[in-house]
C-alpha cells in the first residue's frame, strides 16, 4: 500500500537567542557565548561552543563562567529576537499558509497541500534560506504527526533534519526515554522510572488502567502518544494568545489614583498567574484608561527581559498611569494587557545565594509557591497588600468613585 508522504514539519531554531546574537555580531561567531544574566543570573541560551564546555540553559552564570572561563555573556535583546522570529516564520509562509507558531523559535507547518515535490525538499529549501539570510541554523523533523515531528526535530540538534517514515511512528518513538513524552519532565520522570517505565515502548505496552494510576486524567493521551498516535492537526494560527488582558469598569467613576493602581495591580497579579500556568513570560505591559466622557488613552512600556512575575511590572504601573491620565477627568474604566510573550526561563539548577539577582529568582519562587497555595486552598487563601487594602476600602463603603484626594498627576 502506498502511504502518503509525511507532511507535518516541525522547525526548531538552534540555541535561538545565542544564535541571533552571533548572527547580529560576526565577532561573536564561533565563540562560546551565553545570553542572560541580567536580572536572574541564569543563562537563557548558550551557543553550541559554550555547550561544548558544559554550559546549559538555566545554569547560574557564575557556574557557567567557572565551566567556561572564556564565556562571553551578552544581555538579552528580546526585541531583536522577536524580529528574527518574525522573519524566520515569514519564510515558512512562502511554503504553506498552514503555519502554527508554537513559540518564538518553534513551529509546525502542514505541507500536505503541496502540489509539487516531496515535503523534504521544501524543508531543505526552508532551512537553507533561513541559514543564508538570517545566518542562524534550524533543526527540522518531518512526520505524519505533530508529536513525532517535534521529537524528530530535537533528537539530533543542531542543524539537523530527521524524517519519520509513515507507519514507523511507534517504532521511532519506542526506544526513546520516557521524558520525551509530553507532560513528563524532570519532576515527574522519577515516578515513571520507579514504576519501571524507562522507555516509551514500556508506556505503550502498559494497560491504560495502570497508566492512569501514574498519569491520572492525562493517561489516555499519553498512551496514544507513546503508540505514535497523535490526532492533533496543525492549527494555522497562534495557539496561545498573543496577549492576555483584563479590564474593569468602575461602579462609579473614580479620581482616586491609589484605587486605580490597586485595581490594576490585582489585574497584573491574575495575568501573571496565567502566564506562569502556561510557562510564559511577558515583556510588554499596556495600560488603558477610559475617562467618564468615554475618551480612551493607552500607554505601553516594555521591560528589558521577559518576566512571569507581577513584581516586575508593579514599578511601571504608576508612571504609565500618570502618563496616560493626562486630563483632570475621572476614570470610568481601567485595563491592563501583557504581551510579547517568550517561553519562561526554567528554574536555575542551583539555588542562588548572595547575588544581586537573587531577589528576582526568589520572587519567582515565592510567586510559584503562592500559586500552589491558591490552587490547593482557594484563590483568596493568600493575598497581597493591595488586595487587603481594596477589600477594606470596598467593605467600608469607600469603593470606587469615592471623593478622595485627587489623582496626583504631574
Amino acid at each position: 500500500m502506498n502511504l502518503p508522504p509525511p507532511s507535518i514539519l516541525h522547525l526548531d531554531a538552534d540555541a535561538f537567542y545565542a544564535s541571533v546574537e552571533q548572527a547580529a555580531d560576526s565577532r561573536l561567531r564561533g565563540k562560546p557565548i551565553a545570553v542572560g544574566g541580567a536580572s536572574r543570573g541564569v543563562v537563557a541560551s548558550a551557543s553550541y561552543e559554550a555547550r561544548a564546555c558544559g554550559v546549559r540553559t538555566a545554569m547560574p552564570t557564575s557556574r557557567a563562567r567557572r565551566l567556561c572561563p572564556n564565556l562571553i555573556l551578552v544581555p538579552g535583546d528580546f526585541e531583536k529576537y522577536e524580529r528574527f522570529s518574525q522573519l524566520m516564520f515569514a519564510y515558512a509562509y512562502d511554503l504553506t499558509p498552514d503555519v502554527e507558531v508554537c513559540s518564538i523559535d518553534e513551529g509546525y507547518f502542514d505541507l500536505s497541500g503541496q502540489l509539487r515535490g516531496h515535503p523534504r525538499e521544501s524543508a531543505a529549501t526552508l532551512a537553507r534560506t533561513i541559514q543564508q539570510s538570517l545566518k542562524i541554523t534550524v533543526s527540522q523533523g518531518l512526520a505524519t504527526t505533530k508529536f513525532a515531528s517535534a521529537v524528530a526535530s530535537k533528537l539530533q540538534k543542531p542543524n539537523s533534519y530527521l524524517e519519520v517514515a509513515p507507519g514507523q511512528e511507534r517504532a521511532f518513538l519506542a526506544p526513546l526515554p520516557t521524558h520525551w513524552l509530553p507532560g513528563i519532565g524532570k519532576r515527574t520522570e522519577p515516578l515513571y522510572l520507579q514504576a519501571g517505565l524507562a522507555r516509551i515502548h514500556q508506556v505503550a505496552d502498559l494497560p491504560l488502567a495502570d497508566l492512569e494510576l501514574l498519569a491520572g486524567s492525562a493517561a489516555s493521551s499519553l498512551h496514544l502518544f507513546s503508540m505514535g498516535i497523535d490526532p492533533r492537526p496543525v492549527i494555522p494560527a497562534l495557539p496561545a494568545p498573543k496577549s492576555v488582558g483584563e479590564q474593569e469598569t468602575f461602579t462609579t467613576d473614580t479620581i482616586d489614583e491609589n484605587f486605580a493602581l490597586a485595581v490594576m495591580r490585582t489585574m497584573v497579579d491574575r495575568l501573571c498567574r496565567r502566564l506562569r500556568d502556561d510557562q510564559l513570560a511577558a515583556r510588554t505591559l499596556t495600560l488603558r484608561i477610559r475617562y467618564n466622557d468615554m475618551e480612551e488613552t493607552m500607554r505601553s512600556e516594555s521591560i528589558s527581559e521577559p518576566s512571569p512575575v507581577e513584581n516586575t511590572f508593579y514599578p511601571i504601573l504608576k508612571p504609565l498611569l500618570r502618563r496616560a491620565w493626562s486630563r483632570r477627568v475621572s476614570l470610568r474604566l481601567v485595563g491592563v494587557r501583557l504581551s510579547n510573550f517568550h517561553p519562561a526561563l526554567p528554574e536555575p539548577e542551583l539555588a542562588l545565594t548572595g547575588l544581586p539577582q537573587k531577589s528576582s529568582t526568589e520572587q519567582l519562587l515565592i510567586a510559584e509557591a503562592s500559586d500552589a497555595i491558591r490552587r490547593r486552598y482557594g484563590k483568596n487563601s493568600i493575598l497581597r497588600g493591595h488586595d487587603l487594602w481594596l477589600r477594606k476600602k470596598l467593605s467600608s463603603g469607600e469603593g470606587d468613585g469615592d471623593p478622595l484626594p485627587g489623582p496626583g498627576k504631574n
Binding site: 546574537e21 555580531d25 560576526s26 524580529r83 509562509y93
Partner: protein, 105 residues
C-alpha cells in the same frame, strides 16, 4: 533607530501593500544617513525581501542596526555612510530593505 509603534501617519503607511510579518516601521533618529538621502525623524517602511543592487538596506553589523546601500558588484557588500568601510555581506545580517520613506514637512 527604533521600531515604531505609533505615528500620525501609521494608518497611511499601513495602507501601503506589504506582507505582515515581513514589514515594519523604523524611525531615523540622527542625521548620519544624510548621504543616503535620509534625514533625522524620517520614517521608513522596511520590508524583508531578497536584495537587489543599490537597495537601501537595514542590516545588523557588530550588533548595531545600520542603514547601508547594498552593492552586488564587485563583491556583495553593504556600504554604510562614510567614513565607515564597506561591510562584506557575510559579516552582516539583513533586517530589511527600505521600500517607503515618509517625511513630515
Amino acid at each position: 533607530m527604533s521600531v515604531l509603534t505609533s505615528h500620525p501617519l501609521l494608518g497611511l503607511l499601513q495602507e501601503i501593500p506589504h506582507q505582515a510579518g515581513r514589514s515594519f516601521l523604523h524611525r531615523v533618529d540622527s542625521d548620519q544617513w544624510k548621504e543616503l538621502g535620509l534625514l533625522k525623524n524620517d520614517h521608513l517602511l522596511i520590508e524583508f525581501r531578497p536584495l537587489k543592487n543599490q537597495d537601501l538596506a537595514l542590516v545588523l553589523h557588530y550588533g548595531q542596526a545600520t542603514l547601508t546601500r547594498y552593492h552586488h558588484f564587485p563583491k556583495p557588500s553593504f556600504l554604510p555612510p562614510s567614513p565607515s568601510k564597506p561591510i562584506p555581506e557575510s559579516d552582516a545580517v539583513l533586517q530589511g530593505v527600505v521600500t517607503c520613506l515618509v517625511r513630515s514637512m
